[in-house]
Every structure is written in structure tokens, then in C-alpha cells.
Symmetry: C2
């Protein structure tokens, strides 16, 4: 009998695992189970569909069940929920979301790609008529339907992390009066405080009202909708509320099967993506992975790592022997015409880990100043005090900060010292790059720090 | 008596040397001699003044003699030509360009920053009324004056290297019918042939007529102007001709003083920027420097290396002990809305050096394809056959290729293998960066090459 590889979850890690497993073992019977109607969707593009920058949600559904089945030779079951794992019998019990019909599927190797779920905090209940969570295409479609049926003059976004910033920007771009609330003092609390200030200034300039320290908003609910929010001297009536309070691993299935999990609920895996049951692999937003800077386990729910992990889990489930390399976290977010990039550790993380480090920061030109497209770019680097080895960086600027982050990601992975940033030869032509590069300035500052 | 540090040449290396020498030895008497009316000019921005992107030549004169003198505490003599060096007496003979008055200046340490000069080939004589060389602000002003006094409908640019491409683009942007001639088969012969094709297509699309193999144009000169060019089936009457045939070291002064030079005429220096006379330093487009990839001497007339070299020459002339690090060549040029970046060695260079290498190339998305600003980016990497160590790369795309080049420059400097490009964590957000990075694709191809 052919090897049966069963994959639970069809967003980023799942399809990557399925496609790779089928390529590695063409004779295997590979099956994806997905509870939503779509598989292989672009969850990082959700906000851009709200703003209309991407003009239809269909554009971010990269495969439907049929086309994936056809192109990859993989069985796909959508609208199907896995309800339990029998590790002894090596079966998964399934229930059809619409019909309620239940069935069992046997596996030789199981891959859990159940992802993450949004943090839900009262009073932002998802069953309220005008409260939404931006997590998947189904959720996006609910927002788009609501937007079609209602005039939205005022929006409230709860939580000013990456997703909250993106959602607020989308509303502001549509001319909607947008309030962005966070319990923190500034937006984007994950990044460096200097960049938080720059982001706050930029979103304010673009018409978003940021409300800091918003831990106890006074909220009135009428007719199953949030009608009024009073917080920190602001009082407004939101037509729509989007909650963006972060994500937690969606691992109920794994936990009920007795697989080992970390304190946050994420599944523990080895570098072959194997769980505590060697026949069960896991990949995506539901697992702990190794941080290359600290070599400790970390929770990094990012689509590109999910894809990498899915690929390796699929290969190994099919009989190969691939290893997941520790990750240098490298995260980017757009804020209007600017971008924030965070690489490696932040100041807050380095502090909480008790690392002996130093940091320097600077502002420089992105291009040659006389060129019309020049702008200012801010950067901060963190490095170990003794060895001067780079451990983190953050940037705020225009599109050049993507490259800056990737240079730092490369430098961190290959254990380059902060002081060595001076010796790198950066490209130079006035409409693209500055005469003296920000990273060179930071390297020089690190030398005298 | 205070130490006398004399610097010949005031463009990129000279002012860097002067400013650094004065900071290192505040008591020293530091003097710059420059034969043109300007010092510290942006020679890389010349073409953008022609197109009007930079709206005045004054904007690229970063210091005049007075302001540099005042801000840096350095003596500046403009319109002054150095005519000889007496190494025994440690004096330099000078002649004023306008008055012809001659004088001698004594030095304790001399720094030669005499730069490069354009290659001049008949019939493109600079004394023709409508023939120009784009080398410095004075030359730019001659072009601008000519442009003011004459209607330019048709332009011919001779030489399709970096400067030729920039000049042709400037004319085309002004709506001028532009012919770009080169003896090579495609424009930008310095880069990879695949990119040459892409550049040719792009400049054609933007209205430039590229004429390949133009080694014997039939040129008529009337009234001291080039009036008619017939070449390869094209026949046109240029109102203006810009010759961009490359640069050679301007080292007549050094040679006549008996300093050691390379075959191409560039001054030989050690890593302290000292010439064969330990009291004479040299930096800029007039010296040979060490290529970090080959560890051989190379001629790399690029402003950023001139600046680095000037800085070190200035420091050492003032008594410090700084060392010039070998350079990973990293050169960029804009071509309309695209850029070309070249890092390390090209295929042609690797071939001529007899290196055992492999190369792979690929085309990828610059962003997530559904985002409206996505475009295609082409890349090629070169790596040693045995060790897989990266030795070169070239890219053609939009502004992301600046970052790509700098990642490769970092990777080459720190001896990263081509196959390790897969393990780098690139930043990811749909409006800035793709889900799967071109460098990751290239790394994977290198693995199976």
C-alpha cells in the first residue's frame, strides 16, 4: 500500500508540506484537510484588499481545492474540521463544517499545520455585528460584505501591532475617520522606541488618531454592535471595529492528542519538524522554532518561516532527511509611504534575556541629498558588548530599509561584528543610494561606543 | 614649524584627505590645490543636471573654496595647476590657470588626488564646438551653455558604459532624439550579457536608438562641429555629441616625478596609501587598489573608494596609521525606472582571470505578485566551482537591486557560499518584498548546479 501522508491545515505551511511531500514521494497518497473554504491564501495581503490596493479577495486565493488537486496531485478536503487524533490507530477524526458528517482518515505520517488564531478579548467579541478579526480570507470577506452593506464613516482598530497598523492604514486610505487604540504608549510596541515615535508622527500626519494607554475603554454595546467608545478623553461612534490583539498557536488538536507543547501552547518540534510523536510532524504558526541569535526556542508566526517549515516537514514525512535551520527573525511592515523592518533581537528582547549588549542609532540620507527622491532613514543596531557581534537592528525609512534589514540578517547569520559594517562596500549611484551609507555610519559609531 | 600637508586635487579624494588630515593634526597647515574653479563637487550627479532632475549645477558644488576654508580650516587654491614635484626639495611648482603666475609650495607630506581624465579618441575632439565630455562641473556648464544657445533636436552619445547610458537617458528625457553608439554588441558591456539585452530593450522602449558595433562611423565635420554621422545603416545630424569613452588615471605629475605606476598609468600605493616615495601619498581615481575578490591590484575609479582612500591618506599624512581594506567592487547605474548593479567579478573578468567558477541566473518577483508595485528582477551569481564561495553577481530590476547588491557585497566579503543564500532569512511584507527571494532561488540553483 502506498504511504499515506495526511496534512491538517491548508494555509501556508500545509500546501508547502503537501506539494513537497508529493514531489519527494510521488507514489504517496497526500491529503490536505482545511476547515475554511479556501487553501493556500495570502494572509499577509488581507489589509490591502480592504483598501482596494488589491482589488479582489480572489486575487489572494492562490489555489482552490480543485486546482491544487490537479496541479500538485494532492487530495484536498475543504470545509472539513479535524476533531481528534488517535495516535495508536494512526487515524484522524474529521467533521464536515456544513453537513456535520463525520469520518476517519488513516495516516502513516501526519503533519499538523493548524496555524494560529487571533487573541480574543472581551468586549471585542467576534459575534458582535460590527466587530471583526483580520486573520483569513473568510474573515476578510465578512468585512467586505459589511462594508458593502453599511456606510463606514468611523473605524476603530484595537491593537497597534503589525496587523493593527495595516488595518488602520487601509481605513484611513479610504477616507474613513480612523482611531487606533493600544494599551502601549506608542504604536508598533514590538519595534525600537525611537521608531515608535516616528511611526506615531507618520500615522497622525495621515489622519489616524492614535490613542495610547487605552487599557480601559468605556464601550457601549447596542443591538449587538459596538456603538460608542470613550477612552482617554476621546469619544466616538465606530461604524466598524477591527480587533488586532495578536495571535496564539491553534493547537487544541495537538494538545488533546497529548503532544508536547511549550508554555504558550505551541507544539515542540525537533529540527526535522517532528513532534514528540515521531510519526507526527508540525510546521507553521503552531510550532516553536529556534532563534538563530539566542539559539533558544521562540514563537515566530511569520508566513515565510511557515513555508520553510512546511517544506521540510513534507520532505521528511515523505522519507527525506532535511533540517530546519535556526531563524534570524526579519519582519517588515509598511506604514503609508514608509516601512519598518526589525531584524534579530529588539532592545526589549535583549533586556529581558539579560544579554550584555550595546546599541547605537543614527539618521542618514537614503540617496544623495540633491536627488529629488532622497529621504531620511533611521537605523539602530544592537551588538554584544564584548565581542561586538551584531544581534539585532531596526530601520524606518522608504523601500531601502528592506535591503538594509536583509544585509543585517546576513551579517547576523554569519556572525559579523558591528564594527565591520564600515568595511562593507555599499553600492553607490545618486538616484539609488547615498554617498555614505547608514550602516557604515552605524558601524563607525559602534567602534567608538 | 607646523607640519605642511599639501594636497593636489580637490574633487572627491582631495577634500576627504584635507578634512581628515586637519582633524587628525589640528596644528598642521593643510592646503588643497585645484585647477578647476570648484572643489568637492558631485561628479556622479552630472547627468541629472542635464535632464533637470537636479535643477542647477550649483546644487552639486558641495563646497566653494571659501566655505571649505572656513568650515574645515584648510587653505584652498582654485584655478591653480601643479606643474611639477621636486621630491628632493619637497616642493611643488604651481601655475595659476588664468594669470599664468607661477609659485612653489613646500610640503612635509604630499597627497596626490589628481583623479582621472576622459579617454579622448578622434574624431571626438574636445575643441569641436558641439563635442563635450561629461567629467566635471566645468564640463557640465559648457554643455548647459551650449544647450541654452542652441536648439537640440538630435543628440549622439559615443560609448554605452555607465556615463554614456546616463547621458543618453538625460537627453531622451528631454525629448531629444538620442543615438547611443558603442563598438560592443550591446549597451553596458561591463555587465552580464543577459542584463545587456534587458538594458537594450529598456532604452529602446524609452526612445534611445542604440547602434552596436559602431567602430567606424562616417563623420562629417563642418564649421568646427560634427554635422553628420553615418553608421551601420543609420544617418543623422547631431546637434550635440557627448563622448563617454571611459576614464584613465591622470598621473602625468606623478610619472614626471618618477613615482612608480602600473601599466595603465595609475600610481602604485601600499595599503597606507603611500606611493614609492614615503612622503607622498595618493588616493582616488589615480591609484591602483586591491580587489577583495582576487586580492590583485585593480583600477576602480569610483567616488566612494576615492573618498575612503582620501580619508586614509589624510589620516596617515597627519601621522596616524590607518589601512585601506581591499574593495569588493559594487557599482550601480540607473536606466530609466530600472537599475543595474554589479558586484565583485563579472563573467568576463572571471574568464580572463582563469578562475574555475560556475554561474546561475534567475528571474523573480520583486514583491508579492498581486501588489500593484511588483516587477520582475533578474539576477546572476558567480561562485567558485570547488568551494562554492561567491565571487560576483549582477542584478537588473527596480530599487530593490541596491539592497540585493549590498547583501552580495556583504556575503562576498565574509566568504559566504552561494548555497548558503538559501539559509538567509529575508524580510517579508507584500508591498516591499517577495514571498520567495531571488537570492534564495539563486542559492537553490547553485546547490544543484
Amino acid at each position: 500500500m502506498n504511504k499515506r501522508i495526511l496534512i491538517i491545515g491548508g494555509n501556508a505551511a500545509g500546501p508547502a508540506a503537501a506539494a513537497k511531500a508529493k514531489r519527494s514521494a510521488p507514489d504517496a497518497e497526500v491529503t490536505i484537510i482545511e476547515r475554511e473554504p479556501y487553501i493556500s491564501t495570502g494572509t499577509c495581503e488581507l489589509a490591502y484588499v480592504i483598501s482596494g490596493e488589491v482589488d479582489s479577495p480572489e486575487k489572494i486565493v492562490y489555489f482552490d481545492a480543485d486546482s491544487f488537486r490537479e496541479k500538485k496531485g494532492v487530495n484536498v478536503h475543504i470545509n472539513m474540521q479535524a476533531t481528534g487524533i488517535n495516535r495508536k490507530e494512526k487515524t484522524v477524526s474529521l467533521e464536515h463544517i456544513e453537513t456535520g458528517a463525520s469520518t476517519n482518515l488513516a495516516y502513516d505520517k501526519l503533519i499538523l499545520c493548524t496555524g494560529s488564531k487571533p487573541v480574543v478579548i472581551p468586549p471585542y467579541q467576534p459575534d458582535l455585528n460590527n466587530v471583526f478579526y483580520l486573520k483569513n480570507v473568510a474573515g476578510l470577506e465578512r468585512i467586505l460584505d459589511f462594508k458593502k452593506d453599511n456606510t463606514i464613516k468611523t473605524a476603530a482598530v484595537i491593537g497597534a501591532g503589525y496587523i493593527g497598523i495595516e488595518a488602520a492604514e487601509s481605513f484611513a486610505k479610504l477616507g474613513i475617520n480612523t482611531f487606533l487604540l493600544d494599551i502601549a504608549d506608542h504604536p508598533l510596541p514590538q519595534t525600537e522606541v525611537e521608531i515608535q515615535h516616528l511611526v506615531e508622527k507618520l500615522i497622525n500626519k495621515n489622519g489616524i488618531t492614535f490613542i495610547a494607554g487605552a487599557n480601559k475603554p468605556d464601550i457601549s454595546i447596542e443591538q449587538n454592535s459596538i456603538r460608542h467608545i470613550k477612552v482617554k478623553g476621546n469619544s466616538f461612534e465606530p461604524d466598524i471595529v477591527v480587533a488586532a490583539l495578536g495571535f496564539i498557536p491553534d493547537t487544541g488538536l495537538a494538545a488533546s492528542a497529548g503532544l508536547e507543547t511549550a508554555d504558550n501552547g505551541a507544539i515542540k518540534i525537533n529540527n526535522k519538524m517532528q513532534t514528540s510523536d515521531t510519526n507526527i510532524y508540525a510546521a507553521g504558526d503552531n510550532v516553536m522554532i529556534t532563534n538563530a541569535v539566542t539559539l533558544k526556542q521562540d514563537y515566530l508566526p511569520i508566513a515565510t518561516y511557515a513555508y520553510k517549515g512546511g517544506h521540510i516537514a513534507g520532505a521528511n514525512a515523505a522519507g527525506e532527511n532535511e533540517h530546519f535551520q535556526p531563524i534570524v527573525p526579519n519582519v517588515a511592515v509598511r506604514v503609508f509611504d514608509h516601512f519598518v523592518t526589525n531584524v534579530g533581537l529588539s532592545t526589549a528582547q535583549a533586556d529581558s534575556l539579560g544579554i550584555a549588549y550595546q546599541s547605537v542609532y543614527a539618521t542618514a540620507n537614503s540617496k544623495v541629498p540633491v536627488m529629488p527622491n532622497n529621504s531620511k532613514v533611521f537605523g539602530k543596531i544592537l551588538f554584544e558588548k564584548e565581542s561586538k557581534r551584531l544581534i539585532g537592528a531596526a530601520f524606518f525609512g522608504t523601500n531601502e530599509v528592506g535591503g538594509y534589514a536583509d544585509i543585517l540578517s546576513t551579517a547576523i547569520r554569519f556572525k559579523v561584528k558591528a564594527t565591520e559594517l564600515v568595511s562593507i562596500d555599499y553600492n553607490y549611484t545618486p538616484p539609488l543610494s547615498p554617498f555614505v551609507h547608514l550602516l557604515s555610519i552605524l558601524g563607525k559609531k559602534a567602534d567608538s561606543a
